[in-house]
Amino acid sequence: MSDAATEMPHADPADETLMQVDDLKVHFPVTEGLLNRQVGSIKAVDGVSFSLRRGETFSLVGESGCGKSTTALAALRMQPVTAGRILFEGVDITHYSQAQMRPIRRRMQMVYQDPFGSLNPRMRVRDIIGEPLVVHGLAGDKVKYKARVRELMALVGLLPDMADRYPHEFSGGQRQRIGIARSLALDPSLLICDEPVSALDVSIQAQVVNLMMDLQEQLGLTYLFIAHDLSVVRHISNRVAVMYLGRIVEIADRDPLFDTPRHPYTEALLAAVPVANPVIEASRPQQIVTGEVPSVRNPPSGCHFHPRCPKVMPECKTETPALRPRDDGRLIACHLYD
């Protein structure tokens, strides 16, 4: 991995790469007793590397505890980084102070999952959407501020006349639009979207997915998309990284990943998702991976997936497979292909 990482150019501002994450680790200490003696650590993110190309949608997928959300938070520097390096627009921000991060934060914003919990119920929609402008001292005078909020509301398909209302007057889908408008207030280049549609009803999900794709085209946004719903991921992504217990097991372009998954975990994950078509379902091999995702507190040795892997080999139990580029261009961490 380190070879591939150093080969990538990153200092050039006209670079295709918007963000590069190298060997990122986020470990949480496990303490015990009165003195909080550290007795171990939870390796929530354990050596994750990927890069985001400008204008693409890159998805992190995996089951609970795989570290996808922690990875995204650490990339935003909203989560202390234990080790590794984060480059954003060519600049190493890994050790930036909070003050140094402020101008950077304008360029990277977050869209949250829960449109009910993430909006302050006592604030008017205008001030929810405009708050980032105020915080960053960009609000200008009242007229300018109101105009900018109106513009943002129109951009996400909300009626600007509703700016004086409160969040509870909006439906789940509209609330998610408010969250998106807020995240766009500072004109970011990167949006980190953590399960942005999973709390919404199916018919509303489609509206928000379409909106996100339109905004990307219109504003040239790059998305780091975190989701567990693989059909939404397939619909919206250019590239996908599959995570399992703190590590990336496979990174590939969308079509190869979904058409011919190569890591046994990717294969298991895709097989587990039912397709909304009984004819296809009836003809699919019903191979169901056994067991459950083990605790991150105490992950299996070697390849974390080995106790559940149908193709397990002796070395899988002892040696951690490295995420390496393979002949077809994708990155896979599996001894099968070594």
Binding site: S203, V209, R254, P278
Partner: protein
Amino acid sequence: MSEAVQSATATPLLLVEDLSVSFRTDRGTVRAVDSVNLHVDAGETLAIVGESGSGKSVTAMSLMRLVGDNGTVDSKRVLFDGIDLGALSEAQMRKVRGNRIAMIFQEPMSSLNPVLTIGKQVAEPMVLHQGLSWREARRRAVTLLQRVSIPDPEDRLDSYPHHFSGGMRQRVMIAMALACDPKLIIADEPTTALDVTVQAQILALLKDLTRETGAAQILITHDLGVVARYADRVAVMYGGRVVETAPAHELYANPQHPYTQGLMASVPSLDGDPGKRLQTIPGQPPDLANLPPGCAFAPRCPYARDECRQAPPPLEPIAPQHLRACYGYE
């Protein structure tokens, strides 16, 4: 409704006619379920699908008469295995619940009692309903835990729910549901809280067990993929009413209600065309406290006419086993 009844192969295991449920709230009376007609044949899996507020869960809960103090259940009849559940007293109903009709809920953590051992919780329904001794019930509990693939079941009897993972807890819930050999299992979003690989295991287990025991299943879900994989027949609910019901193959191949069509088209699918705009259903799901007088879907329906806004259309057969509540469209 009589046509629907006759179209079933034999006397259905469960026949629901004109089931309505309303709740008193501070916003007035909310009719969560409105004149629902359903049937479930022995051995089949009926999926009830719908979005939040469609009334799918309330329908299931009301069959067991679990609607809380502010809820009222009304029905012409709810015929289960020859008994009219609507006519039973609360004491008689308790003998049906957890015995001949079992329920599996979404949240395996909050549905299990945290201070009782797994063994006690699995054995309890057999002591209560079948009069077994605790000793005998415990012995049977081991067999049940084995059937739901819990490893080392003897050793796990004295464990507490917090020792179990989410998937294992849901297996325990299934073991409890199976304890008294129910004829009907109602599973309300049984895997929504679980990871996708575990979801597949649990749903496959439920399907195998119902096939083995001949029990029927009502599967309540919002996931059209889950329906496609596991259901024999489907009832689609919207705004408290069943708007369409058909065998699963038929419904996916030939959806006839505009809402079903919209729903199917708005789901990105693993075999669909990625990158394309998704079809959407304009507008918002209905507010149950403030339903329109006509078809609840009319405000969002591309085909709505005056007729649709006046009275809700009845659920009527349009093909064998395929019923739709719609005045029709061009």
